[in-house]
């Protein structure tokens, strides 16, 4: 095999391209249980030898912890990750209370405490898993709205009114967002939910995860993004929902891939590592990855920073003009990080002809982004969003451009906060990976290091994830997120996502303002 056998890119199986059924994914929520036997939960439930398999607990538990497959008498090991813990005892209807033999004991799961980090707490991980399994909001025993980072979105709260207006029905609340506001001759491109999936390159992430991201985007009329590793042919059936990225390495970017994309995203910078380009370590650069990128197998692939041909706003305009020349109907999005002059950058992006400014803050990034960059550079996204929103408003152009925020947006509550600060919509990345089993161990950069086979390109490990299951987890997650977003809007008395934009008056900061303080 030639190391740069680009001439004969492996053709996708015929059915990928031609079978429309394959691409047809719908929004139906179906249970998608975890793929590991012992899913981690907040509590652990112990069944002692005193158990006589009477089945009382099966009848009692509403959460599906206790299961006895019929017609057998034997109890299975408790699905304790579903247990809601002490809250249950308060109802007086807990299995521990009802067990005639006192055989059941519920306690905090010590392993759970070791899970997660300050930004993605164990509760946030578990609640995301719950959403991905059930398609609905997580139970109350999990803190599913904020993490414990001590800053950012975790310090912001909504001042909800005492009661929502009576005449506002949840069914009437609209969550769609228009992406093209320039009023030019290009399509408007509406997404049904106020988020789309972030760019992950073929090379960084399991192809089945990437395909699932594309499929859920199809199901929910939103987008996913190829990242900068090129455009795998297997995305072609979902092309209407796939943004392609043009990043500084220009890997896999060709006229035909650009023409295919409804939106072309220029990645100038990533919030997790501003001042650095993409970086794929050699271990992930397998023959398949190298083939798509047309690079040498096994070598580390660096993208430069910045674009070698864009050192100024007029270069940027020329760059946009070029892509417009290749694909005149595509929308143009510029992904930028949040330096102190991000407002100026955003205005420049607008005047150069872009439809979307995508600001990527520093809370995001997987384990592949170096900590030194991830934790020390750029403006916190919550400041950046509002600054840019204000600046664009003062310039009188706010309604001609779509402002997208990303970087550490984990929950619908984060999304709502970002939108209240001034974004039109958000981009999510890590949240989707958590839904399909990520435990945030941070070993993403190594080709075979991912404990859950998500951030891998290994030719065997990738098979651990099943496409249909993975897709369903994401479909469920999107459904849960939308329900929760509608719920937040309802509680705020707003009838649409658009009505929330820029409503900083609804927010308060834990450090500076008290809830209910005079405004």
């Amino acid at each position: 095999m030639s190391v740069t056998a680009s001439r004969n890119l492996s053709q996708p199986p015929k059915e990928f391209v031609e079978d429309p059924d394959f691409a047809r994914v719908n929004r139906t929520v179906r249970p998608a249980p975890p793929r590991y036997r012992n899913e981690l939960g907040k509590y652990s439930v112990h069944r002692s030898a005193k158990c006589e398999s009477c089945g009382q607990c099966v009848v009692t538990c509403e959460h599906g912890v206790h299961v006895r497959p019929r017609p057998y008498q034997l109890m299975t090991r408790p699905f304790d990750y579903r247990c809601i813990g002490p809250d249950c005892e308060a109802t007086g209807n807990a299995c521990t209370q009802k067990c005639p033999n006192g055989a059941l004991k519920v306690m905090e799961n010590p392993a759970f405490k070791t899970l997660g980090d300050f930004r993605w707490t164990a509760d946030l991980l578990a609640s995301t898993w719950h959403m991905a399994e059930t398609g609905h909001a997580p139970p109350a025993h999990l803190e599913s709205e904020v993490g414990n980072s001590g800053g950012g979105f975790d310090k912001l709260r909504f001042a909800f009114p005492a009661a929502p207006p009576k005449d506002l029905r949840k069914a009437d609340i609209r969550t769609e967002v228009v992406l093209n506001r320039r009023g030019d001759d290009r399509p408007k491109r509406k997404i049904d939910v106020p988020w789309y999936g972030g760019g992950m390159s073929f090379g960084s992430t399991n192809i089945r995860v990437l395909l699932s991201k594309a499929r859920v985007a199809r199901a929910w009329n939103s987008f996913t993004c190829t990242g900068e590793g090129g455009y795998p042919d297997r995305f072609i059936p979902y092309a209407d929902n796939v943004i392609t990225q043009m990043a500084t390495g220009l890997f896999g970017v060709r006229e035909e891939t650009l023409r295919r994309a409804p939106i072309v995203e220029y990645k100038y910078a990533q919030g997790a590592k501003p001042g650095l380009g993409g970086h794929l370590l050699g271990d992930k650069n397998t023959p398949a990855v190298a083939r798509l990128r047309e690079a040498v197998v096994g070598t580390s692939l660096f993208s430069p920073f910045p674009f070698h041909s864009v050192y100024s706003v007029e270069d940027h305009k020329k760059h946009l003009d070029w892509v417009s020349h290749i694909t005149p109907r595509s929308l143009l999005s510029a992904k930028v990080s949040t330096p102190v002059d991000v407002d100026m950058v955003a205005v420049g992006v607008y005047y150069a002809g872009a439809h979307i400014v995508h600001m990527d803050g520093s809370y995001g990034g997987t384990g592949a982004a170096p900590n030194i960059a991830k934790k020390n550079i750029a403006m916190p996204i919550e400041y950046a969003i509002n600054r840019v929103h204000q600046f664009l408003t003062d310039e009188g152009i706010r309604d001609n451009i779509t402002l997208i925020a990303s970087g550490g947006i984990r929950t619908p509550m984060d999304m709502a906060k970002a939108i209240a600060l001034g974004a039109d919509a958000v981009v999510v990345g890590t949240g989707e990976l958590v839904a399909v089993g990520c435990i945030r161990c941070g070993a993403c950069e190594s080709g075979r290091g991912c404990a859950r086979s998500i951030a891998t390109t290994d030719t065997e490990l990738y098979k651990i994830i099943e496409l249909e299951w993975c897709t369903q987890r994401l479909v469920n997650l999107y459904n849960a997120w939308r329900e929760m977003m509608v719920d937040i809007l309802h509680r705020l008395g707003l009838d649409s996502v658009a009505a929330l934009r820029g409503r900083t008056d609804l927010l308060y900061h834990l450090d500076y303002e008290r809830k209910g303080a005079a405004r």
């Binding site: 095999m1 030639s2 190391v3 740069t4 056998a5 680009s6 001439r7 500084t248 390495g249 220009l250 890997f251 970017v253 060709r254 006229e255 035909e256 650009l258 023409r259 397998t286 023959p287 990128r293 047309e294 690079a295 040498v296 197998v297 096994g298 070598t299 580390s300 692939l301 660096f302 993208s303 430069p304 070698h308 041909s309 050192y311 100024s312 706003v313 007029e314 270069d315 940027h316 305009k317 020329k318 003009d321 070029w322 417009s324 020349h325 290749i326 005149p328 102190v340 002059d341 100026m344 950058v345 205005v347 420049g348 005047y351 310039e395 009188g396 152009i397």
Partner: protein
């Protein structure tokens, strides 16, 4: 050395310190640093110097050509070396007085400003408001009314000057130095009181001797129109199109050019170390008022020039330090000085990208200077050009097309100037060869009575002159040529007829080529016309091809300037082009023509038509009405041969055709713009002349042939294709290229050639680049360059691909690499590159045996001539070994 310093240079240092001290009162109260409120990146910059004083209308053309590098929110021009009558003063006043120009943002400020800063300070020889159009809306795209500008011809009052000397402790200064400093500080205080204080009532636009600046909120050319400077003559003109990103700009305070004392500076780029450079200035009691890095730049320039008295060479060194291999190549004495400069002024060195064009009035010598300085990293585009003759013109610009637009504009008025330059080149920033800087100095010829006449000298940073061959003359194309006698015509007519009969392009080309040396200008012009006339109707393809060869190839031109020969040949081509029928016209033949006016009539080829000529005049550089868009539509409609001509920087030629475009051929004449061939996938594109920046980015398949130089980031991120460049590539060619692109560059590249190259193993269908390191002299002979690759970072951080370099002397050394290794050529390597060199020979007449393999007149083995540079990691292992 210390002793020497103490004895010789103490005086100079004390003088400098006295000036710095005298400025202490200029320090604002409180926090002096205000972060720049507007991000501003790129821009279009242009400038030219001419031995004749020419009207402002000639800066108009190049400015319009680079509109798309600005956004109409800031533009400006400077004119240096003015004509007294145009300004209503005597020559004596013009040469001895400072021209103080104050922009009155608030027209009522005039009285206050005069009362505080003019009347008490200056003797005013002449004063008036700069004439303007009655209504700024008469000027296209000028939305914000430019400020009224008051112009004063001033000299400091004796008493005020003496008081200033005594108060500030400036006894050590000469009279001129003192006057300069007085004017400078007076303006600084004026700006403080009437502008920076928040008043925003007025500011000093310029205060130089024999140099003026006009700037506006609008495109640069509008300044010429609004201030009615079409006919204002000057020897040096510079212009700037600004691209501030803040939307609402109401006054031109932040626009370029900025004034130092006797120099106006325009700048393309922005500093990463704006704060650090501002701090450097603040330590020396200089405080930027307009919050842009351009002002910082000119303040640094003025500081080094007027306070530290550095020669221009040292100023350039402080701004764009010589580094790496280039530093090593400097003579020891220079290294010693440069090391000191770099150490002392490290914080004055702007961290790019930047590119400066400076117009300087050398008042003492009554000379004028145009200086272009590129940064060490060469991140902004820049082209220099020179034309020498009865009138000499030196030009520097962001894009070559704007240079040609300037020359065309000048040529239309003065028949001694031709529309093409004699030489075009790029500067290698911070280099030991040119220092990345060239200057055109226009100075009065000695001994001339009355109004002086001028000569121009072109030098680089080190003072080495740029010279053109002696004894060659331009052709005066404004006059019709003389009727040729039968002695000339009969033989040629017969030969032409025979070549046409045989349909022999090469024969026809050789007739033309023979005519260049055998005939005089008139004869050659007749010959070209004759070829055009004989072919334009029945055999246009033959005529076009033969004339194109005469345009593309190098051959001796005898006593004729090549620029004139090319102009004549190009005019012949034009005769044929223009003779081809428009799409709506009747007429047979395989050629059809489309123009801006008839663009809507585009249809597919009919009745054996094959080739569409696209006249680019009137098309916009980008967007829906770009001629490249016509080309992509034409391809969809079935055209397979496209010719763009009369291009003036219109972009995206040979791009946007989509995948699988084998069978399409695109030819580009004149000045095709940026991004040519980017993304091409199968097509062939021929550029008959120099090409600009961003060529063939992400190119996938196909063929590019450039009969000239290419600009920056050629083949950035390319995946494939075969590329032949007759001349040089500018900075960063093949950067981040993957797959299997193949390129032959016959000249060299400025720097960063094939950085992060990832194109597999060339011996198994990977990519490579051949660098021949040769140049053509004015007689069309191939000569090796002094150094086949003078830059650094060759194949730096690459993981695949290779650079084959013609380097019989072993000039390329390990210090120029970063992760690469130099090896000798193997049989397999030679087998690989030979076919490409053969095609190179066929295209450019650069012969393998005669030109490439011979060293000092002796033929050598390719293994003694070529060397291979490859990534160290590929030296011993096959890259895919592990997986096989």
């Amino acid at each position: 050395m210390i002793d020497r310093f103490n004895t010789i240079e103490r005086g100079a240092l004390e003088r400098a310190e006295a000036i710095v001290r005298s400025r202490a009162a200029l320090r604002p109260r409180g926090n002096w640093f205000v972060p720049s409120p507007e991000a501003e990146g790129g821009c279009g910059v242009t400038g030219f110097a001419c031995t004749e004083a020419v009207g402002g209308r000639h800066i108009y053309e190049p400015s319009i050509q680079m509109r798309n590098r600005g956004n109409g929110k800031g533009g400006g021009i400077a004119a240096c070396g003015l004509i007294p009558a145009d300004l209503n003063v005597s020559r004596e006043v013009l040469e001895s007085h400072y021209i103080l120009q104050v922009a009155l943002l608030d027209p009522s400020a005039k009285g206050d400003i005069e009362q505080q800063f003019i009347t008490p300070s200056f003797d005013v020889a002449e004063a008036y408001m700069v004439p303007t159009l009655d209504d700024h809306r008469e000027v296209e795209l000028l939305e914000v009314k430019p400020p009224d500008v008051a112009r004063y011809f001033v000299r400091p009052k004796k008493a005020a000057l003496e008081r200033f000397r005594a108060e500030k402790g400036l006894e050590g200064l000469t009279a001129t130095e003192l006057e300069d400093e007085f004017v400078f500080q007076n303006s600084t205080r004026l700006n403080d009181v009437f502008y920076a204080s928040g008043e925003m009532r007025g500011f000093v636009m310029s205060h130089a001797k024999n140099l003026i600046i006009m700037k506006i909120v609008g495109y640069a050319e509008a300044a010429v129109q609004y201030y009615r400077m079409h006919d204002t003559r000057a020897h040096v003109w510079i212009a700037h199109q600004r691209y501030p990103t803040k939307g609402r700009v109401w006054h031109p305070g932040g626009a370029h050019p900025f004034i130092g004392l006797n120099e106006a500076l325009v700048h393309n780029g922005d500093f990463a170390n704006y704060h650090a450079t501002s701090e450097y200035l603040s330590i020396r009691n200089l405080f930027p008022k307009f919050m842009t890095d351009t002002e910082v730049s000119v303040l640094i320039f003025d500081l080094l020039n007027r306070v530290y008295k550095y020669p221009l060479e040292y100023i350039i060194e402080a701004l764009a330090p010589t580094t790496e291999g280039d530093f090593d190549r400097l003579p020891e004495e220079k290294q010693r000085v440069y090391r000191q400069i770099q150490a002392v002024h490290v914080h004055a060195s702007p961290d790019g990208p930047w590119f400066f064009i400076i117009a300087r009035s050398l008042a003492e010598q009554k000379a004028f200077q145009l200086v272009g300085i590129t940064d060490t990293a060469m991140l902004r585009p820049q082209v220099f050009a020179l034309q020498e003759g009865a009138v000499s013109v030196g030009l520097v610009c962001s894009e070559k097309q704007a240079i040609d637009a300037t020359l065309a504009s000048l040529a239309s008025e003065d028949s001694r100037i031709t529309p093409l330059a004699d030489r075009y080149w790029n500067a290698r920033g911070g280099s030991a060869t040119s220092g990345g800087s060239f200057m055109f100095t226009v100075s009065p010829k000695n001994g001339a009575a009355g109004d002086p006449t001028y000569r121009m000298v072109t030098t680089n940073k080190f003072g080495a002159a740029v010279t053109l061959p002696e004894g060659q003359l331009h052709c005066d194309l404004s006059k019709p040529y003389a009727v040729q006698g039968e002695a000339v015509t009969r033989a040629h007519k017969a030969a032409i007829a025979e070549a046409i009969e045989k349909n022999d392009v090469l024969d026809l080309y050789l007739i033309l080529r023979g005519g260049v040396s055998a005939l005089d200008y008139d004869g050659f012009r007749w010959l070209v016309d004759e070829v055009a006339a004989r072919t334009q109707t029945d055999r246009p393809g033959l005529g076009i091809e033969a004339l194109t060869l005469a345009l593309d190839l190098r051959y001796p031109t005898g006593d004729k300037k090549r620029s004139s020969v090319l102009t004549i040949v190009r005019a012949g081509l034009d005769r044929i082009f223009e003779k081809q029928p428009l799409l709506r016209d009747d007429g047979g033949g395989v050629y059809r023509r489309i123009t801006f006016e008839t663009r809507e009539l585009l249809r597919g080829p009919e009745n054996g038509e094959t080739t569409l000529l696209i006249d680019a005049r009137g098309f916009t550089p980008e967007g829906e009405t770009c001629d490249a868009r016509v080309a992509t539509r034409a391809w969809t409609l079935g055209w397979r041969r496209l010719i763009h001509y009369n291009s003036r920087g219109t972009r995206f030629h040979a791009a946007g055709f989509g995948p699988e475009t084998e069978g399409l051929r695109v030819d580009c004449y004149d000045n095709p713009g940026d991004y040519l061939g980017s993304g091409m996938d199968g097509l062939e594109v021929y550029v008959h002349g120099n090409a600009q920046d961003q060529l063939c980015q992400i190119a996938k398949e196909g063929k590019l042939v450039v009969y000239g130089d290419v600009g920056q980031t050629f083949l950035y991120g390319a995946k494939g294709g075969v590329h032949y460049i007759m001349g040089n590539a500018a900075g960063r060619p093949l950067i981040n290229a993957v797959g299997r692109p193949k390129a032959v560059i016959n000249g060299t590249a400025l720097d960063y050639l094939a950085e992060s190259f990832m194109a597999g193993d060339p011996l198994t269908d990977g990519g490579f680049v051949v660098v021949n390191g040769i140049e053509f002299d004015e007689q069309g002979e191939v000569n090796p360059l002094k150094h086949p690759y003078p830059g650094s970072n060759l194949l730096s951080l690459a993981s695949g691909g290779a650079v084959y370099i013609r380097d019989p002397e072993g000039a390329v050394v390990d210090e120029q690499l970063n992760g690469g290794v130099i090896t000798s050529l193997t049989e397999a390597d030679w087998r690989l590159i030979r076919p490409y060199l053969e095609e190179n020979e066929r295209l450019f007449d650069i012969r393998i045996k005669r030109d490439l393999l011979s060293v000092g007149g002796e033929e050598r083995s390719p293994f003694d001539v070529y060397r291979k540079v490859m990534p160290k990691s590929m030296l011993h292992t096959s890259p895919n070994e592990e997986y096989e």
